[in-house]
């Protein structure tokens, strides 16, 4: 595994964590982040989401929600998800604050809005290392099933990137084209620098 990966979604709960978990299991060097202002989890109704700060441990959220309404959160899969997450890492992290985590080679986002924020954020950083970073957006709906499918696709694409060439720059157009053809999913990508 040559590259360092980052999985980014909005709250660093579902899509990015699903992919994070899967890639981690497959031996990838991977981190995950969210770009939102807060971590949002569904609540009893749409107008009543559960909101946490980034950095709040998954375990803490798990405990809290289980206290609130174990049935509801079990049924909608939030509790299992949080449990899974807490097995992967301690707490959700915010993309915009990850400068200390070092540079990544490939960043995956799962939503256009997130992609925009990642690209914009990278753009606004000082490019000190002059290290290229590939940002790929794979559109994945924010539910458990889609997240699982998205994670598998992500793994597939990551393996393709790893296998294609010594440095992703040489092969990215082909890899993406091949992926699109194989899975009939559209990808977006951009190139930025650290």
């Amino acid at each position: 595994m040559k590259f360092r990966y980052a999985m980014v979604c909005s709250s660093n709960q579902n899509r990015s964590m699903e992919a994070h978990a899967l890639l981690k299991r497959n031996g990838f060097d991977v981190c995950s982040y969210g770009t939102g202002a807060h971590v949002k989890l569904p609540g009893p109704s749409i107008r009543e989401p559960n909101i946490y700060e980034f950095g709040t441990p998954y375990k803490h959220m798990f405990e809290e929600l289980r206290r609130k309404d174990p049935e509801l959160y079990k049924r909608n899969g939030i509790l299992p998800m949080l449990k899974r997450n807490s097995a992967v890492k301690l707490a959700p992290q915010r993309w915009q604050d990850n400068a200390a985590d070092g540079s990544f080679d490939v960043v995956f986002s799962f939503e256009e809005k997130v992609f925009d924020m990642v690209v914009e954020d990278l753009h606004n950083r000082d490019h000190v290392l002059l290290k290229t970073v590939l940002v790929i957006n794979l559109e994945v709906k924010d539910n458990h099933e889609e997240a699982a499918a998205g994670a598998r696709l992500t793994l597939d694409l990551c393996q393709a990137i790893e296998d294609a060439a010594e440095s992703w720059e040489e092969s990215i157009d082909e890899v993406i084209a091949a992926f699109e053809a194989k899975h009939r999913r559209k990808l977006l990508y951009s190139i930025s620098f650290y």
Binding site: E120, L130, I191, F193
Partner: protein, 1310 residues
């Protein structure tokens, strides 16, 4: 030492050991050692490192690169050995290593750049090793740039693109960033604005324009995106977007390039337009997020583009965010003005504070002084302040000093217009070199922005007219003149007054007045001649002399100067500044204010100031602030060598202070007033005064010689330094004056010519020639009442020589000649002569052969044309040339000239009349000369002939007549061509042709005949004027008329108008039916029949033509008459009634019979059948029958029928026909026996009497038993067979059967 040995051992192991893992670990350890030891020690180990670049192991090379990257930053001074390795690794076969090499290189590049700036600012010079490194960096730049273009791995290319971006960012003045002071240790990227306009190694202007060029390179990539992989295009878009956001100056260009860029193409690999499109979207959204003025102004365009990319929602969201941000900003600014200022100035106050702390100078003016220093730097760094400083004079005073740039900083961001002006100013300062970039820049500026720029600059226009002594030497060349800069250059003289008047009222005057005064002077002067001062700073040695520093404020003088001194020694060259001797103007005498080099501190000396100067006395020996009364003399100040003691004492000041001083000294020589130096020149500096050259008296020859040498030298240097704007301007002016002094020295003119043509096309030569000519012209004007001849002669000579050399040097297609003539101040007669010769006269080569180059004629005529358009004064002369050529004897020349005259010049209303007159006179001369000749010859050779024949004979007769009157066809054509060419443009002119046709000689007529078809074709269907002429033709032009009608009807169906006109003409004026022939095919039967006799009356060949037309008919109606009808029509003509001789009719018949393909057997039969029933029978009927049987013997049976019918019609009663009848009968024996037998006996009798030889055969025929029975007795009696006669009842039958038999016989015959 131990560590050194250890490192050597490790490096050797890294090189020689077989195991890669050991190699790497050794290397890693070596690296630690290298980084830990002293750089100079580490440098000793570099040779060992260098070898490793050839290692076959990628990982080793990668590690090497890492080491180089780190160590080169640390031991920059010693790493000249390592940089070549870095460059070599750029080309590494492993793209990852190549990529990392680029990255390391970029870091190193920035570091070197920064170090150079720092070093110069700190020590006033750049160390040799650093300069060497910089040379390597230039190589690095070139290789990376080429990497961006070459085919190769994408990874390194991405980095190369990043370098392009970095390069542009480095070398485009960063106007947003107020932190451009060089503060050691800052992680901020170097920016060109640090240099503040001058650096011994880095030429800011060059790099700024190079950055512009580089941007062009990036933009060019987008023009041919097909060849690039998608990832590169995305990277390029991202780079451009980053540049636009960070350097708003480039924003407009980049935005329009991105808007124009169409991502919907298939890349070479056939993929990913989506991502490319998305990168555009990201870029536009990024722009929207910016709060820069330029970008906010283009918001609508961005929104539109984003909507087109289906990103309208995202765009709206961003806009809302930004608006909220701006609103918040405004609110907070309302809350606290000062805090806002702090915010916006960002770190500026911090720096000031910082500096003051370090210097531990508890003066209350300190902070302000330092703040001011920073702003001063900014004034120099940031050309934008040049444009803005006048706008803020009010705020200046509030701030307590005249530094407008400071005020503009407080004001926040510069407007885009101001940024642009700054940019333009910088480029202008560069002169010729900048011109290219400037052109690109200006061509890319949005019109609105351009208007803003102009308006912004108008503020700098002087309110009163200033007589500026310096203007003459300012490079107000024509190009520059068209831009806004001159206003900018001229404006500053006002500034000092403005700020001066404001200064006394400033509320901080108590504490900082001296500073105000001085700094005010500094800035105003520094700004007052940006162009001049920047023009060539490097050539001025004084620049390098830090002692010429003028510290920004007296408070800092002491230590500043001290430090400067401590760092620099070397003899002062202050005295040289005396070359800028400038009068010190009285305060109120604005008009006398010189533009440059004056420090005008029009301020009453304040006590503080005095104190300061006294306080400084010890340190600045020569420093004096001389104040006389406020009203008359401007106080000057100067700073010179401080005392040694002070220097030592003050050497401890930290470098930032030194830096301050240095930055400000950049301006120093610009405003060191001469008076200063005079006053303050110390003895040691006095010795450096340049000695005055000896005055040597030269005799005339020597003078001339000197002049020539001077010119030669100027020209020689011209070639080498042609890129320096001021130099070339100066050179031009010098050359112009020198040329003006030379009296007809051919050598010099030749030399100049050669020089001019060499680079004529690069503008330089052209400019020089014009400069010289204008100078000479002005001399002529000045001398107008004196002796104009001298300058005029030189002018004339030089112009002609220059024009000739252009003709000789360049091919005919070159426009230089035309341009020269078009732009010179005055076209002399000899120049016109030259032009005329070019167009008109034959050119002969050395062998006497004609070498007219038609291209040259074209060139000449082109020049003539442009001169007619562009030089009203010389219009007539040029027109004459053109017209002269239009009657040139050589066809191709004439054709060219005629094309010019008729197609181009004739359209010009102001000369069309002249042209017409000329053409008319040519036509008339052709006609009249000849006709007068004809008259002459006629009188000479006793008129016995008429018309054309006469002419010819006249030519033959009388030799003396012949010599005058020979007008060949070519000659006639020569004179007529132009007129006919004009006719195509103005058909009414044709009238004249018709008018004169009658009296025109044959050659002219022929010429007319040749031209008419072309003309009519050219006129096309719009020949209404022609119809008018046709309807009422002048006398004598019948032939022409026929020709015209014939041409008009050729190929096309004549129009109804034409037919009507011709018919009308025939009915009224012209009785000649020939005119009708061309239109016959369009006439109907009822129209043709009435005129048919007239047609028959025409000469036979015309009749044949008419028949052809009639039978041809038109496509719509078919033929007017069928051939049979034609025959009938001919026959019905009655010689008596129609007044035609019978002979004519007979000829017409014969003509018809000749056309056996048209008038076939059937046609004849049909016609005869018709005619035989007519009453009366046509006179020529029988004759035609005879002709028919002659022509077609197989018609015999048909003819017999006709004859029988004639018998039935009692043909004997028509004597003329009866003769013919008998003749026919006798010719058609034996077939006609039966017809004969039908005749009544008396007629038979008379017939037999006439043709006695008929009797026997007829009797024999009648005797046949089958016949005899059917023949009437009386008939038999006539034949003398009455005895045997007896009637047979079936005689009719027999006759019939005999008829059948004869028919069969006839059939057998055929």
């Amino acid at each position: 030492m131990a560590s050194r040995d250890q490192a050597v051992a490790l490096l050797c192991a890294a090189r020689t050991h077989g195991d890669v893992a050991i190699k790497l670990s050794s290397l890693r350890q070596a690296k630690d050692i290298l980084l830990s030891v002293d750089p100079s020690l580490a440098a000793e180990l570099f040779p060992y490192l260098v070898d490793l670049q050839y290692s076959p192991h990628n990982l080793v090379r990668k590690m090497l690169l890492e080491i180089i990257g780190e160590i080169s930053m640390k031991a920059m001074e010693h790493c000249h050995l390592l940089v070549p390795v870095l460059l070599a690794l750029l080309r590494d076969s492993d793209p990852i290593i190549a990529r990392d090499a680029v990255a390391s290189g970029i870091h190193f590049y920035c570091a070197v750049l920064e170090e150079m700036a720092l070093q110069f600012h700190q020590r006033g010079k750049v160390e040799r090793w650093l300069e060497e490194l910089w040379l390597w960096m230039l190589k690095f730049k070139d290789s990376v740039f080429s990497m961006a273009f070459e085919a190769g791995s994408i990874g390194p290319k991405l980095l190369a693109l990043k370098f392009l971006e970095t390069y542009i960012l480095l070398f485009t003045a960063d106007t947003n960033d107020s932190d451009n002071s060089v503060v050691g240790g800052s992680r901020r990227l170097f920016n060109i604005s640090w240099l503040g306009g001058y650096h011994p190694v880095l030429d800011p202007v060059f790099f700024m324009s190079d950055a512009n060029r580089t941007l062009g390179i990036l933009l060019d990539f987008l023009r041919s995106p097909r060849s690039l992989p998608g990832s590169l295009i995305i990277a390029i878009v991202n780079c451009l977007s980053a540049i636009a956001r960070k350097r708003p100056i480039h924003y407009d260009i980049i935005l329009s390039a991105l808007l124009d860029f169409d991502p919907n193409f298939e890349t070479a690999k056939g993929v990913l337009p989506v991502s490319i499109q998305y990168s555009l979207r990201t870029a536009f959204l990024g722009f929207l997020r910016c709060t820069s003025h330029t970008i906010i102004e283009s918001r609508d365009r961005l929104l539109m583009a984003l909507r087109a990319l289906n990103a309208g929602d995202a765009a709206d969201q961003v806009v809302r965010q930004v608006d909220r941000m701006i609103k918040n900003g405004e609110r907070s600014s309302r809350e606290s003005r000062f805090s806002t200022r702090d915010d916006q100035q960002s770190n500026q106050p911090v720096i000031s504070m910082d500096q003051s702390r370090k210097r531990s100078m508890p003066l209350d003016t300190d902070e302000q002084a330092n703040g001011h220093v920073v702003s001063l730097k900014r004034t120099r760094y940031d050309p934008s302040s040049m444009a803005t400083h006048t706008d803020h004079s009010e705020k200046d005073s509030i701030l307590g000093n005249g530094t407008a740039a400071n005020a503009s900083l407080v004001d926040g961001d510069l407007t885009p217009a101001e940024q642009m002006i700054a940019m333009i100013g910088a480029l202008l300062g560069e002169g010729e070199r900048g011109a290219e970039s400037l052109e690109i820049l200006i061509s890319n500026i949005h019109p609105d922005l351009l208007a803003d720029i102009v308006i912004t600059n108008m503020k700098h226009l002087p309110t009163t007219f200033l007589s500026l002594p310096k203007v003459g030497s300012l490079p107000i060349s024509r190009q520059l003149g068209s831009q806004t800069s001159p206003a900018h250059v001229i404006a500053p003289p006002i500034i000092p007054t403005q700020s001066t008047s404001l200064a006394p009222s400033s509320h901080v005057s108590t504490s900082a007045q001296p500073i105000n005064i001085l700094s005010q002077a500094d800035t105003s002067n520094a700004n007052s001649f940006p162009t001049d001062s920047k023009r060539d700073p490097r050539r001025d040695p004084r620049r390098l002399d830090p002692r010429r520093t003028m510290p920004p404020a007296p408070t800092s003088i002491v230590d500043d100067i001290g430090v400067v001194e401590s760092e620099f020694d070397g003899s002062s060259t202050l005295s040289k500044s005396s070359s800028f001797s400038v009068p010190t103007p009285a305060e109120n005498d604005l008009d006398a204010l010189p533009l440059n080099y004056t420090v005008n501190v029009k301020e009453e000396p304040t006590p503080e100031l005095d104190q300061v100067s006294t306080k400084d006395e010890g340190s600045c020996t020569a420093e004096e602030l001389v104040h006389t009364s406020e009203s008359d003399i401007v106080p000057e100040h100067s700073y010179s060598l401080p005392d040694e003691d002070n220097r030592d004492a003050l050497a401890v000041s930290d470098f930032e202070v030194a830096y301050d001083a240095e930055t400000s000294f950049v301006e120093s020589d610009e405003y060191s007033s001469p008076a200063d130096s005079k006053e303050c020149v110390t003895e040691e500096t006095f010795g450096d005064l340049a000695e005055l050259p000896l005055y040597v008296e030269l005799d005339e020859a020597q003078q001339r010689n000197e002049r020539n040498t001077a010119i030669e030298r100027i020209i020689e240097s011209y070639g080498k330094l042609s890129d320096a704007d001021c130099g070339s301007q100066m050179r031009m002016a010098l050359l112009a004056r020198l040329v003006a002094q030379i009296d007809a020295d051919d050598d010099v003119v030749e030399l100049l010519q050669k020089h001019i043509t060499v680079d004529y096309r690069q503008q330089k030569g052209h400019e020089l020639v014009l400069h010289i000519l204008y100078h000479l012209h002005s001399l002529i004007a000045v001398d107008a009442n004196g002796n104009p001849s001298y300058a005029a002669a030189i002018y004339e000579k030089f112009l002609v020589a220059a024009a000739k050399s252009l003709l000789d040097a360049f091919p005919a297609s070159d426009k230089s000649f035309c341009r020269l003539l078009g732009e010179v101040p005055l076209l002399s007669t000899s120049a016109l002569k030259l032009l005329e010769n070019l167009c008109y006269c034959d050119v002969f080569d050395s062998h006497g052969n004609e070498v007219r180059d038609v291209e040259r004629v074209t060139q000449g005529l082109g020049a003539v044309w442009s001169l007619i358009l562009g030089r009203p004064k010389d219009r007539q002369a040029c027109l004459d040339i053109a017209l002269k050529c239009a009657v040139h004897s050589q066809d191709d020349v004439r054709a060219k000239a005629i094309r010019l005259v008729a197609n181009k010049l004739y359209q010009l209303s102001y000369i069309s009349e002249n042209i017409e007159q000329f053409a008319t006179s040519m036509l008339l001369s052709a006609v009249d000369q000849q006709s007068s000749d004809v008259e002459l010859s006629q009188s000479a050779s006793v008129a016995q002939r008429e018309g054309e024949v006469g002419t010819q004979e006249a030519l033959i007769s009388g030799s003396q007549v012949q010599s005058v009157s020979t007008m060949s066809l070519p000659e006639a054509q020569r004179l007529l061509s132009l007129f006919f060419a004009l006719c195509t443009k103005k058909p009414s002119l044709l009238q004249l042709v018709f008018d004169v046709y009658g009296r025109a000689p044959k050659a002219v007529k022929q010429a007319v005949h040749r031209h008419i078809p072309i003309l009519i074709r050219a006129l096309g269907p719009s020949y209404s004027k022609l119809l008018q002429i046709i309807s009422d033709p002048p006398e004598g032009c019948e032939n022409l008329l026929m020709l015209v009608v014939q041409i008009l009807t050729q190929e096309t169906t004549p129009s109804a108008d034409l037919i009507a006109t011709v018919k009308h003409l025939y009915e009224t004026k012209l009785k000649d039916a020939t005119i009708l022939i061309p239109i016959l095919s369009s006439l109907s039967k009822s129209e043709v029949l009435p005129i048919f006799p007239r047609l028959v009356g025409l000469p036979i060949e015309k009749f044949q033509m008419a028949i052809a037309h009639i039978l041809q008919g038109s496509a719509h109606t078919g033929p007017a008459l069928s051939p049979a009808e034609v025959l009938v029509a001919i026959h019905v003509i009655s010689p008596d009634k129609d007044g035609l001789p019978l002979k004519k009719i007979m000829d017409a018949c014969s003509a018809c019979f000749e056309q056996r393909t048209v008038f076939t057997q059937q046609v004849l039969a049909k016609a005869l059948n018709q005619m035989v029933d007519q009453t009366p029978l046509p006179l020529l009927f029988v004759r035609t029958v005879i002709q028919a049987i002659d022509a077609f013997p197989s018609l015999v049976d048909f003819v017999m029928e006709i004859l029988s019918k004639l018998v039935g019609r009692e043909v004997w009663k028509m004597p003329k026909l009866w003769v013919g009848f008998l003749k026919c009968v006798s010719q058609t024996l034996p077939h006609s026996f039966s017809v004969l037998l039908q005749l009544p006996p008396p007629q038979l009798e008379s017939a037999l009497n006439k043709y006695a030889n008929l009797r026997g055969p007829l009797a024999a025929y009648a005797c046949q038993p089958s016949i005899k029975g059917s023949v009437h007795r009386s008939t038999l009696a006539v034949l003398g067979l009455s005895d045997e006669m007896h009637i047979q009842p079936s005689h009719v039958q027999t006759l019939q059967s005999s008829n059948t038999a004869s028919t069969q016989a006839a059939a057998n015959l055929t």
